[in-house]
């Protein structure tokens, strides 16, 4: 008989895996089709209602932070790809900003624009994945999921065009981007932007007004704004709760102060609002990319830097609005070629802490939908 222990809110909730009070302890994961990776959720059920839940993380821990302490700054870039592997560009950017702050590197104008284009395209791709897999969790048999994947492919094609990679780009680096845009990129990107609104309409036709989808997502997993703030939740999950906090607007980094875009917010903070916020953010991101393409200046795409960086002693913290939330990178330098300490503030991990209070009282099927609406990536949760 094994036991499961978790510290939450100064209490330790412990319950055995076998109960004799009529409840059923069910172990979801770490291998389960709907946990979006190796996440484990131990739930105590009364019939189909969840009376207690214990999230267990750490199955994908690869010690990324510690590993980067024994690598040079440049060798640290690929680690960032493997955090939130659905939004590798954003992670690259956070790391690049932190190193640039640490070493005081100036980034060429053109690189800034390329970065914004990549990061926003990556946001669209990541949200497509989020919407698609949420639809799967709700129980549609893969149709919206495959629609989303079909369109995400096109964005990945663009990334492949610029970086040669489809998942782990390592494209945005400190000092700029690894290489300039190829000639065919801008027309291809414009074509994608022209098609995108129609594609998003297609997902909306499948889901937004679907009776069953509404019944399954409305008023499910409601996260009130004050609670969202208490749990340090960020990203679409926070904005769905009605808090218009977006780092791109609140503390503009890179060149985000030059673009016009809206910050979609929800009203109720339920699963449906999170879905809607993501759908609208895709449209907003497309707007930003379009503006960036129009303003794209010439010039170099990379600052010239020494082969091995030795930033001066000190520390730096940089954060970006990742598709999942606020991703922060904290670096400490002791003057050597490797960071003395690297720390990641992972949005998926922190958002996930709000899962337990939300699922309690709901049905089993809802817990999966709520988890899906948080849109976690285990690579980032466990690092």
């Amino acid at each position: 008989m094994s036991e499961i222990t978790l510290r939450t809110e100064q209490t330790i909730s412990t319950f055995p895996m076998d109960t004799d009070d009529g409840t059923l302890v069910v172990n979801f994961g770490p291998q389960h089709p709907s946990t979006h990776g190796v996440f484990r959720l131990v739930m105590k059920l009364e019939g189909e209602t969840i009376v207690d839940a214990v999230p267990v993380m750490g199955y994908l821990h690869r010690s990324v932070e510690k590993l980067s302490e024994s690598r040079t700054y440049l060798q640290g870039v690929p680690f960032t790809d493997r955090l939130d592997y659905l939004a590798a560009m954003s992670n690259n950017l956070a790391y690049a900003l932190a190193v640039e702050k640490l070493a005081g590197i100036e980034v060429p104008e053109r690189a800034e624009y390329i970065r914004v284009i990549m990061v926003e395209l990556n946001r669209i791709a990541s949200h497509q994945m989020a919407v698609g897999s949420l639809a799967n969790d709700v129980g549609t048999y893969y149709t919206p999921f495959i629609y989303c994947f079909r369109d995400r492919e096109k964005i990945l094609d663009l990334f492949e065009m610029v970086s040669g990679q489809r998942l782990t780009y390592s494209y945005i680096r400190f000092g700029g981007v690894s290489r300039d845009l190829p000639e065919e990129f801008v027309p291809a990107c414009r074509k994608l932007l022209d098609e995108l609104p129609r594609n998003i309409d297609e997902y909306e036709r499948m889901l937004t007004t679907n009776e069953i989808f509404l019944a399954r997502t409305r008023n499910v997993g409601v996260l009130p704004p004050d609670m969202a703030i208490d749990y340090s939740v960020t990203g679409p999950v926070l904005r769905a709760s009605g808090v218009p906090y977006d780092l791109r607007r609140a503390e503009p980094y890179s060149i985000y102060d030059r673009f016009e875009f809206d910050i979609p917010v929800g009203t109720v903070g339920d699963v449906y609002d999170r879905y809607l916020v993501r759908i609208q953010e895709m449209r907003e991101s497309a707007k930003i990319v379009r503006q960036a393409l129009d303003q794209l200046p010439g010039g170099p795409a990379r600052a010239s830097l020494p082969k091995v960086m030795r930033p001066p002693k000190g520390d730096a913290y940089a954060q970006v609005e990742n598709p999942k939330g606020v991703l922060g990178y904290y670096l400490v330098s002791d003057g050597g070629p490797n960071p003395y300490r690297a720390k990641v503030r992972a949005p998926s991990f922190i958002n996930l802490t709000a899962l337990r209070p939300l699922v309690i009282g709901h049905k089993v099927a809802d817990s999966i939908v709520i988890l899906g609406s948080f849109d976690i990536v285990l690579g980032e949760v466990d690092r």
Partner: protein, 347 residues
């Protein structure tokens, strides 16, 4: 034309004549019954293969992808490959499972699925037997499936399976009520429970036109009864992995799979017989009409599956008891009044 339309009848009479030459009558009857059952079984297995193929290909087209297209022309042999794979797979029984129950469950599920076809007329005179309470027989046999699924869930010794089995029990028992109520209204009009009589009564106008509400309710309840999307809660992949058959592998899993598709086709076949005029239709041979109508209904079920999300347990029950049952009852009352008025005026 006559020869094509009655090809199966002619063949059976020829065999019967041949056997009667050297065998006593009762042996001939027994052999003929066995032949009919074998023919139906072979036909049904082919139907299931076609269903699986259609489900994968049609759904793939709806989802903007290819589906299986490698084995044979257009992937037509894919179901054969799947069956061979399932036959060769290791049969695993979990240590916590109840050996007897775990073994029996797939059989309990499969047998009623097959029995339902005993009374369905596939064409003129093409049924294994014509029972005068045919429809009642189908409903009665169909409800046995529930036991098999609960037993499978319970006997697997797996919590997901138990949850799936419980859901199945609640769902199938609930949806049987609107299902039966929807079938009673056409019976009121026809005045017989025999499947052959029901088809015969639709020679002019199919009952779906007289009973559109009952037809729709039957289809909804039927889809729920066979656990297909959007009512596929007992095997809800996103939460329960595979529900009651999570712990089944190899041939036992294949039996569940077979039963599932047999049941799905049975819903389509019964809807065809009771509401769409059965095998009747112009020009084409009767069995082609019957098969075509049933397959079209099945494709509609694929379409639903590719479109809709899944309901939650409580929503599903609410939908059944608060919407389907009252509407079916109201439809029944209206039909009853209509039939009596008609009899008063005409008869």
């Amino acid at each position: 034309m006559e020869a094509i339309n009655g090809i199966f009848g002619i063949a059976s009479r020829a065999i019967e004549g041949l056997l009667a030459g050297f065998l006593p009558d009762w042996v001939v009857a027994a052999v003929m019954a066995l032949l009919a059952i074998t023919a139906a079984l072979v036909f049904l297995i082919l139907v299931v293969m076609l269903e699986v193929y259609l489900e994968r290909r049609v759904m793939a087209r709806m989802q903007d992808r290819w589906g299986p297209n490698r084995v044979g022309k257009w992937g037509l042999l894919q179901p054969v490959a799947d069956v061979v794979k399932l036959l060769l797979k290791e049969d695993i029984r979990p240590r916590t499972a109840d050996p007897v129950v775990h073994f029996l469950a797939p059989i309990i599920v499969l047998v009623p699925a097959l029995l339902a076809y005993a009374v369905i007329p596939f064409g003129q005179g093409m049924q294994i037997t014509d029972v005068n309470v045919g429809l009642l027989f189908i409903v009665a046999v169909g409800s046995v499936t529930t036991i098999g699924i609960v037993v499978a869930g319970w006997g697997s010794g797996n919590k997901y399976s138990v949850l799936g089995g419980m859901r199945a029990a609640a769902q199938m028992i609930s949806f049987e009520i609107p299902l039966v109520l929807a079938l009673v209204s056409p019976i009121l009009i026809v005045g017989s429970l025999s499947m052959v009589d029901i088809v015969g009564a639709q020679s002019v106008v199919p009952l779906a036109l007289l009973q559109p509400v009952a037809f729709v309710i039957y289809l909804i309840a039927g889809i729920a009864e066979v656990n297909r999307s959007p009512f596929d809660l007992p095997e809800a992949e996103s939460e329960l992995i595979a529900g009651f058959h999570t712990e089944y592998s190899g041939m036992k899993f294949a039996l569940f799979f077979l039963a599932e598709y047999l049941n799905a086709f049975a819903v389509a076949a019964i809807a065809t017989t009771v509401f769409l005029g059965g095998w009747q239709g112009p020009l084409l041979p009767p069995y082609v009409w019957f098969f075509g109508k049933a397959i079209l209904l099945f494709i509609a079920m694929i379409w639903v599956r590719a479109t809709l999300p899944r309901l939650r347990v409580d929503q599903l029950m609410g939908f059944c008891w608060k919407v389907l049952v009252p509407v079916a009852l109201a439809n029944l009352v209206v039909t009853g009044i209509g039939v009596s008025l008609y009899q008063m005026l005409v008869g």
